[in-house]
Structures are given as structure tokens and as C-alpha cells.
């Protein structure tokens, strides 16, 4: 059993939890994910690692309540436990010295970006961070990411904070100003697609972190398969990070909608809509 040691309610339906999982914390690297199951009847869901503390043996997860499991998870209190929590899974981020890197985070995708930003900074990169959200209230980890950034920008859809518009607008301005060596983008699929389309024009290496539907997370089921450069890859063992210029985003979007109807049904029954 894996105990919830800390819980924070972030803006609206985003929650942060620190989970006691010493074996996972010991090996966790930026960019990796975990799979959890709340109880015997629960499904297995993947969540990217938002932070880890090897000494305390904890893993931080930050999640948006979107489906039955995340809504149920959000209701759990400090002291209660999860039945299963396995990881760290996936290939760690390719964190090394690139020179000037731009880290683009959108919505709840800002959470897994945090350990990557930290790590890129530690490697001696010039780190430019661009965070995007619908509005000011929904911005995550602003201070935390700013602390490890040499330049820091915000874009909100309604202009309530930072520049009004999309992260890609800010990225365009940054590219105009700097020679960018690498872009790391994590967020909604459409955001990662738009960012990749932009950087492709400038031939800037771009990594994106994908979040397809998974079951086992160990390369067994292929439910998380994505098309990268025309080849089928499993996000759980080959990813979750891939070359953003080569991902078939349209296919990823459609595969992530596979169980939308069932998800709604499960939520309705549980009264967690």
C-alpha cells in the first residue's frame, strides 16, 4: 500500500499529492511516469512524475480531475493509501547540456515539466520557460519554475496574466530573439503539435511528452502505441518523450478518445461528474 502523505488543492480541479513510494523515488528521473491503481476494482492510470524526494522516499503527482479515476483520487485524504503504485516507468528525459533551451508547458503539462526544467538548469543550460494556461488562476508551479529559469514568460488565453494568447506566440518571439538549441514541450496534444510545427520551420530539435491511454505500462499491451516517423512506438517503454517533429498527433488525439463514452458512463454511475 502506498500512503498519501500530503495533498494540496491547486487551482480548480488540479490536485497535488505526495505519495510514499521509496523504491520508485530512489530511481525516479525527470520525464518518467508511474502507474497507479486506487483499489481492487480500479483501472491502472499513468501519471507523469512531477517531483521526487529520494531521502523522504516520496513521489509528487499533480493531476487534473478529468475522468472517473482522477476524480476518485482527488477525493482521497491524507493518510489514505493507494493499492498499487509502480514505477519509475518510461525512458528518462534526455537531460544534458544543449546551450539555450526553451521549456514550454501548458495546463497540467506544466507539472512534469518542472523536474526537467530543474535538471536542465543544473546541467548548465540557459533555460527559457514559457508557461501557458486558460487564465491566471489555472497557472501551476509559477514560482517553482521561475526559480530555475533564466528567462520566464507566461501566456494566458484571456490575458489575465502575462501575454494574451498562446505559448506558441511567445515561443515565436523567443526564437526571433535567441538562437534556440532545443525545445521541450509538454501540454495538451494540440499545443505540442503547434509548437512542433513552429520549431520545424527553424529546424530546432523538439521533444514532446505524450500521454496516451495505457494499461500495463511495461510494453505488454500496446494500447499506448503512437506513430512516430511512420513507425509504431509504445509510449510506455519507447517514450513517453519523442521527437515532436515526427509524431502523428492526429492519430494520438483519436486514440485518446477511444473510451470517451465509457469514461462518461463510469463517472455518471459514480456520481463524480
Amino acid at each position: 500500500m502506498y500512503q498519501i502523505l500530503e495533498k494540496k488543492v491547486l487551482p480548480e480541479t488540479v490536485k497535488l499529492m505526495k505519495i510514499k513510494a521509496p523504491l520508485v523515488a530512489k530511481k525516479a528521473q525527470p520525464g518518467q511516469f508511474i502507474i497507479l491503481r486506487i483499489d481492487e476494482k480500479g483501472e491502472r492510470i499513468p501519471l507523469t512524475i512531477a517531483d521526487f524526494d529520494r531521502k523522504k522516499g516520496t513521489i509528487t503527482i499533480i493531476f487534473l480531475e478529468v475522468g472517473k479515476t482522477t476524480k476518485q483520487l482527488g477525493k482521497l485524504a491524507v493518510g489514505s493509501s493507494l493499492l498499487n503504485f509502480v514505477g519509475p516507468l518510461g525512458v528518462p528525459s534526455e537531460v544534458k547540456k544543449y546551450g539555450t533551451v526553451v521549456c514550454v508547458g501548458g495546463g497540467v503539462g506544466i507539472a512534469p515539466l518542472y523536474p526537467i526544467v530543474k535538471s536542465l538548469k543544473e546541467q548548465g543550460n540557459f533555460v527559457i520557460s514559457i508557461l501557458g494556461a486558460k487564465n491566471e488562476k489555472l497557472l501551476l508551479l509559477e514560482k517553482e519554475i521561475q526559480e530555475f529559469s533564466d528567462e520566464f514568460y507566461i501566456a494566458t488565453d484571456d490575458g489575465s496574466k502575462g501575454q494574451k494568447g498562446f505559448v506558441s506566440d511567445v515561443l515565436q518571439q523567443v526564437i526571433n530573439k535567441h538562437k534556440v538549441d532545443m525545445v521541450m514541450a509538454i501540454g495538451p496534444i494540440i499545443m505540442m503539435k503547434v509548437v512542433s510545427d513552429l520549431t520545424r520551420k527553424y529546424n530546432i530539435k523538439t521533444l514532446v511528452s505524450l500521454n496516451p491511454i495505457m494499461v500495463d505500462g511495461t510494453g505488454m499491451c500496446g494500447g499506448c502505441r503512437v506513430s512516430v516517423d511512420g513507425k509504431t512506438k509504445f509510449a510506455c517503454v519507447d517514450g513517453p518523450e519523442f521527437d515532436g517533429h515526427k509524431v502523428d498527433y492526429a492519430n494520438l488525439m483519436l486514440r485518446n478518445r477511444r473510451f470517451m463514452h465509457e469514461e462518461g458512463e463510469a463517472c455518471k454511475l459514480e456520481g463524480v461528474q
Binding site: 494499461v215 511495461t218 499491451c221 503512437v226 483519436l254 458512463e265
Partner: protein, 461 residues
């Protein structure tokens, strides 16, 4: 007295009933029928049946006890060699093993060895399994990676020798393919759990949620334990590699069966994991896994469940009993057909498959006649769900994370017949070494590896 030429039938659920539920198909022998069937055994001196048994069971020995009505002793004889008899008594391909060698085959049908093994395992389980006395502790530790048939067998044998055995399992449940792959109606999960419980009562410790190669490395295990056995199976699904395979509606057999068996999607929404199949389901492939998929689809409410296979029935790799059950249940076989492409609607949902008709040509390297396409014979059919069951490859997680470990061209760990790999102290067996095979062969490999591990550790002193 003349010997009965045919096996005693095992009563089973009627096909029209069983396709509406996930309960086990056969009910098993009664005591009376088991004794009668056991009396068919001629107790051959040279025991040909045993040559066909990967786990070395004294087959005439346990059958003789059944004939005498001494079921407890029969259980003891089986358990001396086989830690998972209720499993092997259900899923073994007997026809090519023990029963294939039975002398009675010359007169008619062999002794129903599999059915008798199943009877004894069920008898013992229902009565309460006897746990043998703990052996003297040797003070040596062995790690077993993967709680599937190979790992559980190896662990059970080692603990009986006096080793301290710790099993590491990546998933949240034990059993490996017995739990995620083989459906409830063929191998009830309660039976798997009971067999695992026996292994635990022998003294084996099982840790779940530990992915070796990620959570803990093999090198770390090698430092902490006197030997390591890897039985991580063939979990990587093979694909058809045709256009449209990533459409919504195309599943690997593994994903489909894992959702249904391990995550219990057949009880959605009581259980959270969903599966959806629509009306017309087509399974590609003709092995046991393909039969499992096609029969599961019927139970989930498919109106039509097809199997598309590029060869003919004679070449199908599935057990005869599985093919027979699938046919009884109404699975439709479209033989000598090979898929070319999947098509989706504008939203990316699978709606159609195009295939080409085949004919058998010259024999290939497997000795089976090679199927060749008939030019211009392409056809299309409407489908809602495609299940790709054309085999699995070894799980890549460990082969690629251990320095100095020799890996074969199919991604398998290279190991000798007793499980020795290129790294001293590291053993491997089952599908991870051989590529996808059967449960009983994995159990046999686990057994031989346990002996080799014992030898290895004792030789180090």
C-alpha cells in the same frame, strides 16, 4: 477384459449457454468416472507418457493411485514434481505430450491424463492443500523475476530445496499469462490464486509493482542474491504491419485480454477498466490466444466472431480442444485469407478490413505449406473490432538492461536447456528464452533452472 477405446467424456456447459457467461466450460470428472478412466491405464513398464512430460510427473504412478481410489496419495505423487497441477491440468497441450505417447493410442484414444491431473488437483484444492514440511534452510537467497508459470515453478522448487526465494512481479497480480492472458472460462482466476497461494505457503515471498530493469536493476539483484532467475515471458505483441493498424478498434490480443481478464472489463462499470467491441469482431491468427480472443468476444456480446487465418485448419497452432470449443460456440473461420489493410471512418474508427485470398504453395522452413496470395482475389468486409493475435515476442525490458547478457536475434535471452545465460549466476527460462511457447514448457524450464541454480550455488562454496 477388453479396454475401453475412448476417453471418458468430461461434462461441460452447453455452447449456447456458455457463450453468455465467463464460467469455466468443462466441469471435470466425478470420482467414479476418474477411477474408471484411471483403470484404462495399462501401467506400461517403460512409461512412454513420461517422456512427453516437461515437468517429469510420475504419470502411471499417480494414475495407479486414482485407480485404487487413493486420491490423496495421487496428489502427493503429482505435487512431488508439479507445483501448479490445476493449471497444467487445464491448459497443457496433452495431445502432443503425455497423451501423444500413450500406448492406448494404438487402440483408440489415449488415457485422459490431463483430465485426471485436473481431477486430482481440484480434489486436493477443495479438500485443503497439504503443505509439505519446511526443509532445512540453506542460508542462500534467490531472486525470481516474474510470477508467471516459469517463475512460480522455479520459486516453488527452490524453496522446497531450502532456499529463501523472493519473487518480483511488475503487475499488481501474480500468474503472468495465467492471469492476464488465459480467459476465466478456460482457467478460472480463483484457481490461479489458489495455486499461487500454495507457492506462498511453501515460503516464497512475492513482491508486486516492481519492474525489474526500472524499479530495481538486475545488477542490484545480482549483488543482493546468490542467483537470479528471469522468467519475464513473451509480452511484446507482434503486429500485422498493415495500414490502419493504429485506428480506434484495433487491439493487440494482449491489450484485449488484459483488459478483460486481469482488469475484469467484462464487469464494467462495476470494474473501472472498459473494453468495447461492437457487433462484428475479427481475430487474426489461429493459435490458442486467437481462440481465446474470438471466444471472449462472443461472451462480451459480439454478434459475429470471425477468425481470419492465412493457412488451413491443419496448420492451426491452437490445441485441438480450443478449436473444437470455438467452433461449437459459433466462431466463424475464414481460412486462407490474409489482411491487407484496415479502413476507418472520418473520425478514425475502424469500419472495414480488406484481405486477399490465399492458396497453399510449397512447404516453408517450418515444414508447413507456405500460403501464397491469389492475385486479384482481394475482398472487403465490415468490422467493428480487430484483434491481432499473431504471436508475442520476448519482453525487451531485461535483455537490454544487463551488461554482458547475450541476446538472440528475436530479442530473447540466450540460455542453455538448464537456463544458464552468458552471465554467471543469472538464469532465464520460459518464453523470455525460447520465444512464445506454452505454459507447461515454461514450467519445465523453471524446474530445470531450479536444479541448475542449486548446482551453481553449491559449486560456489
Amino acid at each position: 477384459m477388453s479396454v475401453r477405446k475412448t476417453k471418458h467424456e468430461m461434462p461441460q456447459q452447453k455452447p449456447e449457454e456458455r457463450i453468455k457467461n465467463f464460467k469455466e466450460v468443462p466441469y471435470g470428472y466425478s470420482k467414479e468416472v476418474a477411477i474408471e478412466e484411471a483403470k484404462r491405464c495399462m501401467q506400461c513398464k517403460n512409461k512412454p507418457c513420461m517422456k512427453g512430460c516437461p515437468v517429469e510427473i510420475d504419470i502411471p504412478g499417480f494414475i495407479a493411485r486414482i485407480a485404487q481410489g487413493d486420491f490423496d496419495k495421487a496428489a502427493e505423487v503429482i505435487k512431488a514434481k508439479n507445483n501448479l497441477p490445476a493449471v497444467s491440468g487445464r491448459v497443457c497441450p496433452y495431445e502432443g505430450q503425455c497423451e501423444g505417447e500413450c500406448t492406448l493410442k494404438k487402440l483408440g484414444e489415449p488415457v485422459g491424463i490431463g483430465r485426471l491431473e485436473r481431477f486430482i488437483a481440484d480434489y486436493e484444492r477443495e479438500k485443503g492443500v497439504k503443505i509439505p514440511k519446511k526443509p532445512k534452510a540453506l542460508g542462500k537467497k534467490v531472486a525470481v523475476v516474474g510470477a508467471g508459470p516459469a517463475g512460480l515453478t522455479c520459486a516453488g522448487d527452490l524453496v522446497k530445496m531450502g532456499y529463501k526465494v523472493t519473487v518480483f512481479e511488475a503487475l499488481h497480480a501474480p500468474g503472468g499469462v495465467l492471469m492476464y492472458g488465459i480467459p476465466e472460462f478456460r482457467l478460472p482466476k480463483k484457481i490461479v490464486e489458489a495455486e499461487v497461494d500454495y507457492i506462498k505457503k511453501l515460503g516464497v515471498e512475492i513482491n508486486y509493482d516492481v519492474v525489474i530493469g526500472k524499479t530495481i536493476t538486475v545488477d542490484e539483484l545480482m549483488g543482493e542474491f546468490d542467483a537470479v532467475f528471469v522468467g519475464t515471458g513473451a509480452g511484446l505483441p507482434n503486429w500485422l504491419n498493415i495500414p490502419g493498424e493504429n485506428l480506434d478498434g484495433v487491439y493487440s490480443a494482449n491489450e484485449f485480454l488484459t483488459r478483460v481478464n486481469m482488469m475484469k472489463a467484462y464487469s464494467f462499470p462495476e470494474y473501472d477498466t472498459p473494453v468495447k467491441i461492437g457487433k462484428i469482431v475479427v481475430t487474426f491468427g489461429a493459435g490458442n490466444v486467437a481462440m481465446d480472443c474470438a471466444r471472449t468476444a462472443l461472451r462480451l456480446g459480439a454478434e459475429k466472431s470471425y477468425i481470419l487465418y492465412r493457412r488451413t485448419e491443419a496448420e492451426m497452432p491452437a490445441r485441438i480442444e480450443e478449436i473444437h470449443h470455438a467452433k461449437e460456440e459459433g466462431v466463424i473461420f475464414k481460412l486462407l485469407t490474409n489482411p491487407i489493410s484496415f479502413y476507418g471512418d472520418k473520425d478514425g474508427h475502424l469500419i472495414e478490413v480488406e484481405y486477399i485470398n490465399m492458396q497453399l504453395g510449397e512447404p516453408d522452413e517450418s515444414g508447413r505449406r507456405r500460403p501464397v496470395p491469389i492475385p486479384g482475389s482481394e475482398e472487403k468486409m465490415k468490422i467493428d473490432t480487430a484483434l491481432v493475435a499473431i504471436g508475442q515476442s520476448p519482453n525487451p525490458l531485461i535483455p537490454h538492461t544487463v551488461k554482458g547478457l547475450q541476446v538472440g536475434k528475436h530479442g530473447n535471452i540466450v540460455a542453455d536447456d538448464d537456463g544458464r545465460t552468458s552471465v554467471p549466476g543469472l538464469f532465464a527460462g520460459g518464453d523470455i528464452a525460447t520465444g512464445a511457447a506454452t505454459v507447461i514448457l515454461a514450467m519445465g524450464a523453471g524446474k530445470r533452472a531450479a536444479r541448475a541454480i542449486d548446482q551453481y550455488i553449491k559449486s560456489k562454496k
